[in-house]
């Protein structure tokens, strides 16, 4: 069972980050069988399909030879939580495993559908109906003997994902819905880990034509001290007309997924090597064939996610019931 590893049982303790922020190193534990704990976590390191053909560390060395020793150590020791393993998230996990990350947590409630097959490299038609996390975990586990991959078939936010984030080095968000992305940002800020938010999409021309006239994507690095996703320009419940295409099924591009996932991994490596600096946005424009990186500065001191008083607002998220009753009951009736 994985949650026992420092996982606090008292909800009040959940937000207490471990005293040391240094990532923890995990060795692969292997035994026959497959275990599922109460929270639904499948530890694929206890897989029954591990075999001698799994890649050895030496075989993977070429992807790490160029890394300076400190970065290589950081990669090996990091815990990545990937929330959303659709088209883009699947590439992120595959790249991460190939780069030498040894502890990856995959979170997604969805099952694979036939319309995913156009961009889901590990999937075969017979996998339709299986959990995406399971398809990916099986694929990765067969190839990397040192990789410990956990799966959480849950929608964010959930207590199990929250627990994993507490011990994560970074979280990669590959979610579609803007509210979920904002919520992940809030939680990452509260815990104190960087969020890399990935998005790809097609741009649609204004009425009456409404045809695809562009495509691209971006990687946003949201961390304490920098702008939140909202200040990057996201609008929960805002207008998303520019991104919806009146075509069924809607278009997607395996290339866009792969390129944005690759850019995100480069960002993550630079962040781990402490070389990214203040850069927090990388934007790909497919039509112009350009990739632009820049630094967005938050200009709203009143923002409750990244402004001056933001830490108090992060702390106000997910209180225990008695706190609510005490605080709100003092100013109005609770019923």
């Amino acid at each position: 069972m994985n949650l026992g590893r420092g996982g606090a049982q008292n909800p009040e303790d959940l937000w207490q980050r471990p005293a040391s922020n240094s990532p923890r190193r995990f060795s692969a534990s292997r035994s026959a069988g497959r275990e599922r704990d109460q929270a639904g976590v499948v530890d694929m390191s206890l897989r029954d399909d591990a075999d001698s053909e799994a890649a050895t560390p030496a075989a993977m060395l070429r992807n790490m030879l160029w890394m300076a020793p400190p970065l290589r150590m950081r990669v090996e020791e990091s815990r990545l939580v990937i929330v959303g393993v659709g088209g883009t998230g699947s590439f992120v996990s595959i790249y991460a495993a190939h780069l030498g990350f040894q502890h990856i947590v995959l979170c997604d409630p969805d099952v694979l559908s036939a319309t995913n097959l156009n961009r889901y490299v590990p999937a075969e038609p017979s996998h339709v109906g299986r959990a995406k996390t399971s398809v990916l975990a099986s694929f990765l586990s067969k190839r990397f003997s040192n990789l410990r991959v956990q799966t959480l078939e849950e929608r964010f936010p959930s207590l199990a994902i929250e627990r994993e984030l507490l011990h994560a080095t970074a979280v990669i968000g590959c979610l579609d819905a803007v509210p979920d992305r904002i919520a992940l940002d809030v939680m990452a800020r509260r815990i104190g880990i960087p969020l890399l938010d990935l998005g790809v999409g097609f741009r649609v021309s204004p009425p009456p034509d409404r045809v695809v006239d562009g495509a691209g994507g971006q990687v946003l690095v949201s961390r304490r001290g920098g702008p939140c996703l909202r200040c990057f320009g996201f609008a929960v419940d805002g207008d998303a007309a520019s991104y919806f295409v009146d075509i069924t099924p809607d278009p997607s591009s395996i290339v866009l997924n792969g390129v944005i996932a690759g850019l995100a991994m480069e960002c993550l490596l630079a962040e781990l090597a402490q070389e990214l600096g203040p850069t927090n946005r990388i934007v790909l424009d497919r039509r112009e064939l350009t990739v632009v990186s820049d630094t967005v500065v938050s200009d709203d001191p009143t923002c409750n996610m990244c402004g001056e008083g933001a830490p108090a607002h992060w702390q106000a998220v997910a209180p225990v019931r008695s706190t609510i009753e005490r605080e709100l009951g003092a100013i109005c009736r609770t019923g």
Binding site: R230, G233, A235, V236, D237, G238, D250, Q315, A316, T334
Partner: protein, 202 residues
């Protein structure tokens, strides 16, 4: 994932403005406040029940207000709809109150779609105080409120062509009693955006 610190400040403001709000708690870890209720200042026999969405104060909010009234005529007021099971299913992913049926237990079955903030794409949260003002405006002149909503939706549809705005325009026409126009817009929406799930609600 609600910012209840902001909510606490908003409730204080409501109290200062003469309201006597009641907070309905939920069992959801991330959305501990299911709803806030208060009585109309304009009509003492009418109560408002505002489901508090997930991500409250981190997002724009305050789009649905439920009503409890002993007056039968309120069922015929402009903008009032009876909450249907399929609408509850549709919106449950955003509201703990709908997931836990708190609205039903407290006797609120009618609702009005309230929009007091049309600014976009920038995020803006104006809070319960602003919503309370709009609620009382609706009480005093329901048709004027719905006309304003209808015009705003139509303008955004013309500008952006988003199925979201077309759907809300159609709903406003229905609220105004313009059934033929509402049907025309629903048909147009289904034809233009068959993948847009909300058209399935009719």
């Amino acid at each position: 994932m609600q910012d209840w610190l902001s909510l606490r400040d908003e409730l204080s403001s409501l109290t200062s403005a003469g309201q006597e709000p009641t907070v309905c708690l939920s069992h959801d870890r991330y959305s501990p406040v299911a709803a806030v209720e208060w009585q109309s200042l304009a009509r003492s026999d009418l109560s408002f029940h505002v489901p508090i969405p997930d991500l409250y104060a981190f997002a724009r909010s305050g789009s649905i207000v439920m009503l409890r009234s002993a007056a039968e005529r309120d069922r015929e007021q402009c903008g009032v709809r009876l909450l249907q099971p399929r609408e509850v299913d549709w919106h449950s992913y955003r509201f703990a109150d709908l997931r836990e049926n708190g609205w039903r237990e407290r006797g609120f079955s009618m609702y009005v779609a309230m929009r007091y903030d049309w600014s976009f794409p920038a995020w803006e949260h104006t809070g319960l105080g602003g919503l309370a003002v709009v609620c009382d405006e609706w009480v005093e002149n329901p048709k004027s409120h719905v006309l304003r909503v209808r015009d705003a939706c139509r303008e955004q549809w013309d500008r952006l062509g988003s199925p979201w705005w077309l759907h809300r325009w159609a709903m406003a026409e229905r609220d105004l009693g313009n059934d033929a126009e509402a049907s025309r817009l629903f048909v147009l929406g289904r034809k233009r955006s068959p993948w847009w799930d909300e058209y399935a609600l009719g």
